[in-house]
Symmetry: C2
Subunit: 344 residues, 2 copies
Amino acid sequence: MLQKQKVTIYDISKKIHVSAATVSRALNNNPKISLKTRELVIKTAKEMNYKQNHLAKALKSGKSNNVGIIVPFINHSFFSSVIRGIEEELTPHGFHVIICQTHENIDNEMDQIDALLNIQVDGIFMSVSKTTKNTNHIKKILEEGTPIVFFDRKKDIKGVSSVTIDDFKGGYIATEHLILQGCKKIAHLAGDFNLGIYRNRYEGYLEALKAHDIDFNSSYIIETNSKVENGASAVSKLWELDEKPDAIFSAGDYTALGAIQELKRRKIRIPQDVCVVGFSNEPFTKYMELPITSVDQTPVTMGKIAAQVFLEQIKGSQTITIEKKVVLAPELYIRNSSARNLSL
Amino acid sequence: MLQKQKVTIYDISKKIHVSAATVSRALNNNPKISLKTRELVIKTAKEMNYKQNHLAKALKSGKSNNVGIIVPFINHSFFSSVIRGIEEELTPHGFHVIICQTHENIDNEMDQIDALLNIQVDGIFMSVSKTTKNTNHIKKILEEGTPIVFFDRKKDIKGVSSVTIDDFKGGYIATEHLILQGCKKIAHLAGDFNLGIYRNRYEGYLEALKAHDIDFNSSYIIETNSKVENGASAVSKLWELDEKPDAIFSAGDYTALGAIQELKRRKIRIPQDVCVVGFSNEPFTKYMELPITSVDQTPVTMGKIAAQVFLEQIKGSQTITIEKKVVLAPELYIRNSSARNLSL
DNA sequence: CAATTTTATGCAATCGATTTAATATGCAAT
DNA sequence: ATTGCATATTAAATCGATTGCATAAAATTG
């Protein structure tokens, strides 16, 4: 184990008999430094294998070149894809991405925020946890002067930008697609209404029904967690009704999958008897033997755009707050679980 | 936008008329400081909402409390799960996790390493890219005195710890399972032999054949990239043979899936005519209508253990290099794609 | 050639916390 | 009362890079 990082601007300055200030300026292309000196410094720095100490620079400048990303879970396809997008967009700008997960727990969320502020990240990207109601801990970020960008799951806070998809539209097109397949009794497996995204998907569903003059039936709505088992039990519950549904729009792919499994168990044919649509376009949906129709959220793009919004924000004067709300269009991937006249 | 982080130990020291050194010592529970002073300092610090500046501390100590993780892609289930494990294990110790992806490209890998060393991470976790042959850039990390821990995909470098699964055994148990199902003509869809993990899975396959007195048939080996399409085309190629296989052991789940799709297209019954086993236990394998038998790599555990190895490494004196090779046992999840007498 | 402006460079302070070596205080022993 | 020693505290240096201000050297002008 040898010594770490050795060469400093002082070492360079000694070697070529100039001051450290000159070395610093030369390396930063300060025009006050003569071409001759600048070239000598740069050449010597290269020879001595000089590496700038980013910590020292960060301390002096107050900018760490790190950004934090807070998500419920890293290893959920949607979130890891957003992270990928952010990472790919920010790395070329010299930023590094620090990952935190909340496990959908607001206490963790608060801790993670504190930790990120402590290490002076230059910005925070976050998708709030399901249990987050109060937003004081988030406002604290703003008070410290650190920009935030919400993605997917946001809270409405003045001065905070966000990148989301149009969940209302997602709910609408999914439902309308089912209607166009001839379905009239469309059940909805909703997600946690504490989160805006799920409320919006539900609203979109309602609006599509209304637009096509289909009566709303409240017993067709089941609010549930996005787990496979819950999709199955939701179907069991629905099939106790006298008027069984002829379609299911699920706000998540896992519940859609569970629903399909239970429908098959009951020998109900898909899509002939019942059409099913999921949400998120999880990788598995297209791999199934009966591929599942789903609403795509373009997560990598979402991450990239969130990163761009952040870069724009910090480019401007620090005193100006840019509040930008980017809403991406969701896209319906129609597959066999709902396509009655599809030749695939 | 208000000012960032304000209160320093000097502010505290002024307020209670002691020196900054005393404040620092008091906050660090240095026994030289009298109880009275310590309590006053701590109380005042709390009142003034003091937050330690980690950058300054990092600069002085040379320890950043950041670790880097280098993976081919963040949003691959296996890698994001390992990252999750590392994150969960290190966060309680005050470390933060910085993510980099290489896109399986060695040039990116070198850049990422440079960047991580530049920001003085305290350690690097990595899974090498497929294109990595030369290891000079990795040795550079060691020369700087920064510990590395390989996970899953490693290179043999003296003094470097690693956490992997026993791929040989994985290949062995997968193949033996197929043999026990009565299969005798077992094809193997191998991964890139540049990576040790795929060579080992292949070796395990060979050994299992030998142990059960089954002749090796080289035309049953197809080296391919882990993509769904490649699984399908591998089957097409295999089914041109006079002696068609009665089982397929794929070194990856995606190729296993592609193989299954192609087998179905050809109306070949699974598992009656052909048994299929994949590798990685990707989430989708258990969701299929025909769930796929696969070898699980316990990625979250792998991440946690890698983190523990790292913590052990840095706990010891910096001059002592601990080289620890942890090998986790893979586990076969038997499902319908291979289980001829399974009642599920 | 002296006066003035430009250009190039150095000095020293700064960012905030840590740490070594030095000093002030208290108390016991002689 | 003086010496000795432990305890508590501080001054100052340090980590490495940046930057405002001062100044020396060179170039320009009258």
